[in-house]
Subunit: 479 residues, 2 copies
């Protein structure tokens, strides 16, 4: 049972109206990370809630309490929980999305006002903050609902919605909600699979399905010695300098080729077999794409499979910076008294922060002991999250593959992402069902950057894809 | 010919009046590094000029032109050149001092208003910005002048004064002035030796004469790669990360024990012979003093001579910080696109920035080549200055030793300082005469810190010392 032709025609016919609705959504500057815009996140929740109700979804706004941000005590924006359909003969799909956005100011370098959706007729781009992350995908679902509402056709599956307004600020309050609603009697009871549309294709050409995300373990390693900053003229070559020690420690973590030098970390990950390597070889993504995206010819290898596996299925260690040392322009001759190196390790299964922590701490303590310094070492794990990998042979993925083939006439790239979307793991673990990441936008959408855009064709074909996916799911469920 | 007893008695008798004059000087917030206070530096020049004239010194204010500071075009405060006495049978001594001060705000942590001199009767401290650096010493000279002026006694030597108002801001304009006035026909023609009172005893107990200063060579090593900052999730283990490369380079510069690992740098300095080591062994300064001053037990060695030589007669390398990397609190997962490490090398003879530069650049280039990175390296020398060492057996020093013994009943510590006072070298090179650093204040005066102070006894005995030094100079000249 592919999607009805009428559905596809309807989406095309209504394209301009859908874009107008996207413009309405973008016009609400629902920046969760800026206290001044907290009211706008609430307004956005109300707007979306009204849209869902109008299209026949039974919704509730769930109060998530209050939180502190930048010293201010603020009410958290509500989550929207919704349901349409409760036919026990149908699959039940949980749909996640977020209606908050990243900050954006014209002065950041935007060519146009970030909160006025600009339709660039020449390039087909819909430009505005949230167009791709994540208002476009949420509105894709509204488009699907609208067809069924207007044509009075039942949806092929039952849908449960979970939309939040704090994703760009750590999804505060969401984990608890998901765990609570996943229990017996909760709103998510009976959910068969999850679909999250909040990431991107690898490139600008080929649709993708994403079945893995790396986890993270973020460390702060602090060396302290003198009671205060010292003058390098007076104390140079007299005392153990914390920066010398810290730089030495940081230099033992990762090779310039990206190999993690902390004993046991790389070894924890099973090598890829030929079948897995074939997935990477087959991806429509080249070293040239990686280097174009980085803006320089700096790929770690000339071998595509190795570069893509480095991003998608290997752990990585990045040194982000140093807190407490001189960081300005110019030339200051200080010996900083206390310096903290910040580095993080991206994790892949079976790594977890809990398994990695002792290796990191042991490594740093041993390396520090070797220095023979009289300064003091401390190591903190600032935060972390487990990696996630789903079974991409699951019927949830099979439905998405069929839908992609039907809408785009191409097989999707099967990707794993290097970054993290923590809620993915929360859904997977709380519900114990397969989670699919089904991106709508392209790799160059610039989600957290200036001039964020969603291509018109990705919005329209993407809406078709979401609807078609539901029909394919229902089809598979029957067999 | 020791100083007349009347001189010593006079200084004691006038102590309160002298302290009142120091309070007047401290009350003028002559902060050269703050454009808002530029008028106060001018006011301070006028105040000091009037004092000198009143005491019989023939002075001129020399316009040093304009400069740019923090984007503002400002007039430089004038230098004060002065002369008293031109008896060709006497030695001519050039006296240097600076009448500008470091910034100070009550909110920085001062216990009292920094520009109101507080006389703490219990501790004998004269607390206020500039009390020790460098208004106290300048006023010491005024005290000496006042005795001779009031008692109508000729000074035992001719004095030439060079007082500036930009020392705390790079002595802008001074080098040119000194070179110009040192030429035939200039104000400094015929100068036999120089005395600078703008540094400190090693400790709080023993007067010191300083015969050496380290030079400096400050480097910025930059690694650039990506066109913009990258997300470590998306790019970790995919591209060469500038921070990884930079940390690796910085780790090759200096050992945790302070040895400079750049080939040829340490080797350039001749080892100390037993006679020189004896100077350090004899200094009234212990490892406990070093560690108390640093606020922690972090001395590089348990051997006093080695620790003191590390500060005074060995080069040192300190890593100050990194520009361009994440330096705030918290956990940011960025891969910075371009990062610059800042480090400096304190130089001792025969090292010069010119001799060190090629070694540093060669070292960094070779170390970078070994990394096999596709990022780009660049190395800059941000600024530098040569070291200075004077002959401490010269009659200029002998006079100061005798004066110290006469006033303090102790032999002075013969010290070399780890830091730089660039004007010292300018005088030494332009005039080709011996330069003596004759400190008035103690090691704990906190010159650039909060609650700067000068001990009452250092101000009063120090004034006696300056006068006695002149008499001892005259005495030596006769023999
Ligand atoms: Zn998002
Ligand atoms: Zn986002
Ligand atoms: Zn000074
Ligand atoms: Zn100073």
């Amino acid at each position: 049972m592919p999607a009805p032709t009428e559905f596809l025609t309807y989406i095309d016919a209504k394209a301009d109206i859908f874009i107008k609705r996207l413009a309405d959504a973008v016009a609400i500057p629902s920046i969760s990370g800026d206290a001044k815009h907290r009211n706008d996140v609430f307004a956005m929740a109300d707007w979306l809630n009204a849209q869902l109700r109008q299209l026949g979804v039974d919704t509730q706004l769930v109060d998530l309490g209050r939180h502190k941000m930048d010293g201010e005590d603020l009410p958290l924006p509500p989550a929207i929980l919704g349901r349409i359909g409760s036919d026990s003969s149908k699959k039940t799909v949980l749909i996640y999305g977020h209606f908050d956005v990243q900050p954006a100011n014209k002065s950041d370098g935007w060519d146009t006002d970030p909160f006025t959706l600009v339709v660039d007729e020449k390039t087909g781009r819909l430009i505005g903050r949230g167009s791709s992350d994540d208002k476009g995908p949420i509105l894709g679902w509204l488009n699907v609902l609208q067809y069924h509402h207007e044509s009075k056709l039942p949806l092929p599956v039952n849908l449960v919605f979970c939309f939040e307004g704090m994703e760009e600020s750590g999804s505060e309050g969401l984990d608890d909600l998901v765990r609570r609603e996943s229990k017996k009697g909760g709103c998510f009871e009976g959910v068969d699979c999850v679909c999250i549309s909040d990431n991107y294709w690898l490139n600008t050409r080929t649709p993708a399905l994403t079945y893995g995300l790396r986890g993270l373990s973020y460390y702060k390693v602090t060396i302290s010695g003198p009671a205060r900053d010292l003058h390098s003229g007076v104390f140079g070559r007299t005392v153990h300098e914390p920066m010398t020690d810290l730089i030495s420690l940081l230099s033992t973590l990762v090779s310039p080729q990206g190999d993690i030098l902390i004993k046991g970390v790389d070894d924890m990950v099973p090598r890829a077999d030929e079948e897995e390597k074939a997935i990477y070889a087959g991806l429509d993504y080249s070293i040239a794409d990686v280097e174009e995206s980085a803006g320089a010819s700096i790929a770690l290898s000339a071998d595509k499979v190795s570069v893509l596996m480095g991003r998608m299925r290997e752990p990585s260690l990045s040194i982000h910076g140093i807190e407490g040392a001189f960081s300005g322009a110019g030339a200051k001759t200080v010996i900083p008294a206390k310096v903290s190196g910040k580095f993080s390790i991206r994790l892949v299964p079976p790594q977890t922060p809990e398994a990695i922590d002792p290796l990191v701490i042991d490594h740093l303590e041993k390396a520090f002991a070797k220095l023979g310094s009289k300064n003091k070492l401390s190591v903190e794990n600032l935060h972390g999250g487990k990696p996630w990998v789903a079974d991409h042979r699951h019927w949830n993925f099979e439905a998405a593959k069929k839908a992609t083939k039907a809408v785009y006439k191409q097989d999707p790239d099967l990707t794993r992402e290097g970054g993290s979307i923590p809620v993915t793991l929360t859904f997977a673990e709380s519900l114990g069902v397969n989670v699919l990441l089904l991106p709508m936008g392209r790799g160059d959408d610039g989600a957290h950057s200036t001039n964020e855009k969603l291509d018109r064709s990705n919005f329209i074909e993407g809406s078709k894809l979401l609807g078609t996916y539901l029909y394919e799911l229902a089809d598979i469920a029957k067999n």
